[in-house]
Each structure stands twice: as C-alpha cells, then as structure tokens.
C-alpha cells in the first residue's frame, strides 16, 4: 500500500521535475537579461489562470495540444516513433478550411462533420506511407515522418500562395470558411469552442481504450515487446501500420479543429510547432490520458500567458519557447542521476 503510494508520488514528481528544471533555466535567463524571474512567473500564472476569460484563453490554447499530444502518445505507446503530427496538422487544417469554405448551403452539423472527416482522412493518409515503409521494409519512421513534416509545410505553403489563395488577398490565406462550418463558441466573447470538448473527449476515450479495450492492450504489448507479440499471435507490423494511421488521423483532426474552431481559414505558418509540442506533452504524460490533459493545459497556459506578458512587461514572448524547449529536453532526461549521485556522495 505504502509502496504503491510511494511510486505514485515518485510518478507525480517525475512529471513535475522537468517543469521545475525548465523554470529554473528560464529564471537564470530572465535574471541574466535583467528581469525579475519570480515577478515574471507570477504574472504568467495570473495571465493564464486569473479569471474566467483567462482560463478560457488557456483552454483554447490547450485544444490543439490535447490532440497533437494524443497523436504522439498513440504512436509512442505502440513503439512507433512518429514525429509527423506537425505535417498532419498543416494538411488537416488546409483540407478542413477548404471544405469548410465550400459547403455554404448545408446546416451546421453535416458541414462540420464533413470538413473534420476530410481532415482526419488527410492526416491518416499522409502517414500511410511511413506506416507501410516501417511495417513492411523496416524503414526508420523517425526520418520519414520528420521529412514529411517539411514536405507538408512546403506543399500547403505552395497551395495557399497559389491555387487556393483567397481572391483579393495579398497574404497567404484561404477564403474564410462558411459561418455554419465554424465550431460553436462555448463562452462568447472568448474563443473557447466546441473543439476543446471534442479533444478532451477523445483523450478520455483514449484513456479508457488503452486501459480496458483489447485493441489498447495489443498496441501496448507490441510497443513493449514486438517479438513476444508475434509469438502470441499478434502481428506487430499490422499494429504499427494501424497506429501510425490513427496517429496521423488525430494529427489531421487537430489541424481541422484549429481551422474550424479558431482561425476560420488556413493561413501560412498555420502551426507554431503544435506537432512538436505534442511530442513533449506525450513524453511528459508518459502516454497516460490524465497526464495528457494536465500537460496540455500547462503548455496552453505557457502560450496564452506568453502573448500577454509581452504586452504588459518588456519580457520577450520567446521566453515561452525557451521554456517549452527546455521541458522537452528534461522530459526525456533521466533526472534521477542527480539524486543517486547525491545519495552516493552522502
């Protein structure tokens, strides 16, 4: 009993430690630049959680991260190192924006369903290639999915600057989507929208599935030990392929929800790296549903607060990027090394 409690505490610390390390590094940088780190962090907490509207803004910022985190977690759990959610996000966003602009006469529910369905399809198909290559030829999926990100960004960048450019628009942007394809707002005037609920529900469904469903157990088994899985009659290649496609589909959905819920069109530079932040979130969460929710909200808080602290203080918004990168690094580092050494020295 106490042992179980101890391991749970250790697990919680394990999630908190990367954040603590990142905040310490951020503090050192702020101090070196002549800012008061405690004051800045206090301001950030206020800006992220002080009041309904700010919480709504934080949850809005967490929405794409819930799904990119989920996309990464689904793949990682099955032992696939998929870093391609960023590209799926771009493609899903573009496809949903184009479909959403093309369905003016329909009522809201089918318009949204078709647009999001198209985004899911685009994301899933985009990772079909790496999935097949990994499952049948053993080609390293890290490289192929990473390369596909750059290809997706280039491809959508070309489309939105040329064939799909909104008429009369000088910037790279598609036309605004039809009003009935917009995801309804939950708390006007804030931008929090139905996308948050959809994303949250999917993460919870993932949590239930990975714990109780046979398919969830299978993919975990394949992730832990592909040779054993094969011995008990589960073909790892098939699971690799399936989970890669599901992961891509979720990444595409994330982009679709971002387009229909917040941006209402597709623009150049659609994602500030949501796909990569999702990787950090999945790692911090150790692929658990609860962890995904907590980590997404923390990262959402970072980015929603970052936008405001630049307005109200001189602190450059890039402090957020530094913190995000540092969390990513410490999330995979074995910080226990420091503890062990100290104990050994004492």
């Amino acid at each position: 009993m106490t042992r179980a409690l101890g391991s749970r505490i250790a697990h919680t610390l394990g999630v908190a430690a990367p954040f603590a390390f990142a905040l310490a590094i951020g503090a050192a940088i702020l101090l070196a630049a002549g800012f008061d780190p405690l004051g800045v962090y206090k301001l950030m907490v206020q800006e992220a959680f002080g009041g309904d509207r700010r919480i709504a803004a934080t949850l809005t910022a967490a929405t794409p991260l819930l799904l990119t985190g989920l996309a990464a977690a689904i793949a990682f759990r099955a032992g696939i190192f998929n870093v391609g959610a960023e590209g799926c996000f771009y493609l899903g966003g573009l496809v949903a924006a184009v479909v959403g602009a093309a369905v003016p006469a329909w009522s809201s529910a089918p318009a949204i369903l078709v647009a999001l369905g198209a985004a899911v399809l685009a994301g899933g198909l985009w990772l079909l290639g790496p999935g097949v290559l990994r499952a049948s030829l053993g080609v390293d999926e890290v490289v192929t999915t990473l390369m596909l990100n750059f290809i997706a960004i280039g491809l959508t960048g070309w489309l939105v600057n040329g064939p799909l450019l909104a008429r009369g628009s000088a910037n790279s942007a598609t036309p605004l989507i039809a009003a009935n394809a917009e995801l309804p707002r939950l708390m006007p005037p804030t931008t929090l929208n139905l996308g948050f609920v959809i994303s949250l529900a999917l993460v919870i469904a993932y949590g239930a599935c990975s714990r109780f469903a046979v398919s969830g157990f299978r993919s975990k088994l394949v992730g832990m030990n592909p040779r054993f899985s094969r011995a008990v009659g589960i073909e790892p290649g098939r699971i690799f392929l399936a989970m890669m496609i599901v992961s891509g589909a979720i990444g595409g959905l994330a982009g679709g929800i971002h387009a229909l819920g917040l941006v209402h069109r597709f623009v150049g530079g659609f994602s500030p790296g949501y796909g990569f932040t999702g990787i950090a979130i999945a790692l911090l969460a150790r692929n658990t549903a609860l962890g995904l929710i907590v980590a997404s909200i923390l990262f959402g808080a970072l980015s929603s607060a970052g936008a405001n602290i630049q307005l109200f203080s001189d602190v450059p918004i890039e402090i957020v990027e530094i913190l995000q990168g540092a969390v990513m690094i410490f999330a995979v580092a074995n910080l226990g090394v420091f503890w062990k050494r100290r104990r050994g020295a004492a």
Binding site: G129, L146, G157
Partner: protein, 299 residues
Amino acid sequence: MVTFLHAAMMMTTPILLAAIGGLVNRIGGLVNLGLEAMMLAGALVAVIVSAKSGSAAIATFAALAIGAAIGLAMSLVVTRLSANEIIVGLGFSVATAGLVRFILKSAYGASGTYNPPGVMMLPRIVVPGLDQVPVLGAIVSGLDPLTWLAWALVPVSAFVLRQTRWGLRLRATGAAEATVRSVGLSPFSIRDASTVFAGGLAGLAGAYLSIGVVGLFNEGITGGRGFIALAAFYFGRASPFRTALGALLFGAFDAAQIRLQGRGVPAELVQTLPYVIVIVVLTGLGLAERRAERQGMVR
C-alpha cells in the same frame, strides 16, 4: 550556367559543413537534430563578434565555439542522462530558436533582423592561375575559406574514418558500444566528441550564412538548412563522398529556387525536394535490403 554553378557552390557550403558534422556524429551513434539550432546560434554570434572585433577570423572562431558548446550540452544530456536524442535535438531546436530571438530583443532591441555597423565579411580567395582556367575558374574563383574547408573535409573525413585509429574507435562506438567499453575506452566520451565536432561545423555553417553571404543576421537565416544537412547525410549513408554529392545536389536546388523565383516555378515545392529524395532513397534501400534477405544473403 557558370554563374549558376558558382551560386550552387555557395549554397552547398553550409549544407556540406553541417552534413559532414552530422555524418560523423551519426557514425558515432547520435542522430543530430540540433544542427539547425547550432547553425542559428553560430550565425548570430558571428555577426555580433564580427561587428565588435572587426575581425572575420575571430567571428568565425566564435561561431565554431558556440556551435561546439551547444553540441556538448546536447550530447551530455543524451549520453549522461540517457535521454532520447531525437527529442533532445528537437528540444534544443525549439529552445535555441527562442533564446536567439530573446537575446536579439532584450540585448539589441531588434526583432527578427540584426544588422550592426562594421560587420567584417569572410574574405574571398582568388587562387592565382586557377581563376584563368575556363569555366572551372569562374566557378571556384572568389570562394571563401569556409567553402574550401568544407570540401577539404570530405576526403579528410573519409580518410580519418577508414584509415585511422580514431576513425575505427568512432565507428565502433556507433556500431558496437559494448566492444568499445570492453577495451577500456569510454563510448560516451567518444560520442560526445563527435557531437562537439558536429556542433562546431554547424556553427561554422551559420557563420558562413551570416558573415559569408549576407552580412547581417536574420532569424530565418538558416531556413531549415540544418534539416537539409540531415537529409544529405541520410542520402550519403556512411560515406562522406556520397554525403557531399547529396549536399551539392541540395545546394543546387537551393540556388535554383532562388533564381527561379518569379518565373512561375513554386519555390515552396522546390524546397521540399531534398526531403522527398531522402524518402525515396530510404525506400530504395529498404527494398534492396529485403531483396537481399529473400535471396538469403543478409549483409
């Protein structure tokens, strides 16, 4: 055509420098996704030091040092804290890009572009006699020292990897870590050294971009060349010569894309070509390997 080849040579240099570093790093057992970050830091430091000191040589050395320092930090996290190199590389990319812009804003009040007065550019080398040779002379004349260094590194690294004790140790570190440990060497230290080497070269690549080509720093100056370098050394597998071929090919794409702008050829699509080629190459390798397996002659 000749001016295009000259431009292609110029655009190859940063990719080649980073790719040779990344290749050596990968042979030592670490796939370096931080090259882009090290390049960016090198580019900024080169401009700052060049303007302050008035010496391109000191600036180049400073860029080398910052790239190597970031490489060391990244490598230590990977080797000593047993962290996943892919995530750590991505994390360093995100954090360094943020830090560079943070420093620009907080220390120089500049957002995006930093263009201090008095930046000394890299000198151009005109080899007497060589510039008289038709075609070749026009292509290689007036190139800077870093370009010569990059191309010199190709045969040198091939020789060191194949023929020397250090090369053997490095290859063993990547291929058979336990063996290296069993003869009393530290595979971690050897791997760290290879990452420091890669970081230094990526820093030089950054210096080349900022004080070799444009004479200022812009936050988008690296333009994904760190990842194109990754594409080049995946294209080249374990061979410096093939890697150089990849870098030259991708450098030519880069030069072509600049020249074709405004002529109806979409630059965005040309920029994706290196990545498409890498996927094609990896697929081809996978197919060839499977065919070999089927014929019962695995390796």
